[in-house]
């Protein structure tokens, strides 16, 4: 039974409030990405296009880092695919919680599935029905925010200085720690986090590239599967 809420305002406001801290935390990264892209020869219009159609920060950092002149679509497309493989896990998980979405809304919603949007949507779905207004408000706000700050970074360029000097490089890690603790459900969650973190740190030390994310996800989910067999 699908029912459109008469007043989507509450979901919309909740989506904006939930994503707001993440929008603040990504500001230094947007500026840094734009400035780095500018140094690599990308114009403000080109970085706007990239943020507008890709909208995936970590893969944009990797792509700008690998950027050559002329750009190689095959190398950049493949690198982006590998960095973003985790999104398949995320949309597989969230896909089970989109009962209030039409098929078109589902395929529209996954476009906005940045890490932070996914995290707040999962958090919402844990407590109540996840509605389109919540997800599109959170996703749309982070999207507009990302466009503004990446283009601003490209326009301001070198004038920005080094974000590490003020600790802003740690904002991303701090935000993710906050998001992880939002999923705390007791000691079992601690074991899932520990397994994931240990595998990610180990694989990151041994293998170049973004494989540590998939290794950590596999270890954390594997730990949960083992515990499920013991408890139930």
């Amino acid at each position: 039974m699908r029912r459109t809420p008469i007043l989507p305002g509450e979901d919309l406001a909740a989506g904006l409030i939930a994503i707001f801290p993440a929008a603040i935390a990504v500001v230094p990264f947007g500026l840094l990405l734009g400035a780095t892209a500018g140094l690599k020869g990308l114009s403000p219009v080109e970085i706007a296009l990239m943020s507008g159609v890709v909208f995936a920060g970590s893969s944009q950092f990797v792509a700008v880092d690998l950027w050559t002149d002329p750009a190689s679509w095959a190398a950049l497309g493949l690198a982006t695919l590998i960095v973003n493989l985790r999104f398949t896990l995320m949309s597989a998980s969230l896909g089970r919680k989109l009962g209030a979405f039409s098929p078109a809304q589902r395929f529209g919603a996954v476009f906005f599935l940045a890490d932070e949007v996914w995290a707040v949507a999962e958090r919402r779905a844990a407590d109540r029905v996840l509605r389109p207004a919540f997800l599109f408000a959170a996703g749309g706000f982070l999207y507009a925010n990302w466009m503004i700050w990446t283009v601003a970074g490209c326009l301001l360029g070198r004038a920005l200085g080094n974000p590490a000097a003020l600790g802003f490089d740690f904002a991303f890690a701090a935000m993710f720690i906050g998001l992880v603790i939002g999923f705390w459900r007791g000691p079992r969650t601690g074991l899932i986090i520990a397994a994931s973190a240990a595998a990610a740190v180990g694989v990151d030390a041994l293998v170049a590239g973004p494989w540590y994310v998939l290794a950590g996800a596999a270890a954390g989910c594997g730990a949960a599967a083992i515990m499920a067999g013991e408890g139930a």
């Binding site: 970590s58 695919l81 589902r106 701090a174 720690i177 998939l214 996800a217």
Partner: protein, 100 residues
């Protein structure tokens, strides 16, 4: 204000790769078992993926970052997200100044 052809093509390839992995999960979501170990593994995905993304930065960068990560975890259990981020950033500045 320029838009280069090779650059546009590369950005398009990035966009297609990203949307493909984001939409891909929708296609497998309905085929996954709704109970048992697979269900437990899927339920663990949010903390497992998010922990994996930041674990190397938080734990393998240096002692200042590791200590700041511990402070941030403590803050995250008690405070809203925006305050947690502020305390994390402030604590990494303090620990870097104290121990480098």
């Amino acid at each position: 204000m320029t838009l280069d052809a090779a650059t546009s093509l590369a950005i398009l390839a990035m966009a297609l790769a990203t949307y493909a992995v984001r939409a891909g999960g929708l296609l497998i979501a309905e085929r996954l078992p709704q109970q048992g170990r697979v269900r437990a593994a899927m339920d663990a995905l949010p903390p497992a993926v998010l922990s994996a993304v930041i674990a190397p930065t938080a734990l393998a960068t240096g002692p200042a970052e590791t200590l700041a990560a511990i402070v941030t975890v403590v803050a995250a259990f008690r405070l809203p997200l925006i305050a947690t981020v502020a305390i994390g950033v402030a604590s990494v500045v303090v620990f870097r100044a104290l121990i480098g």
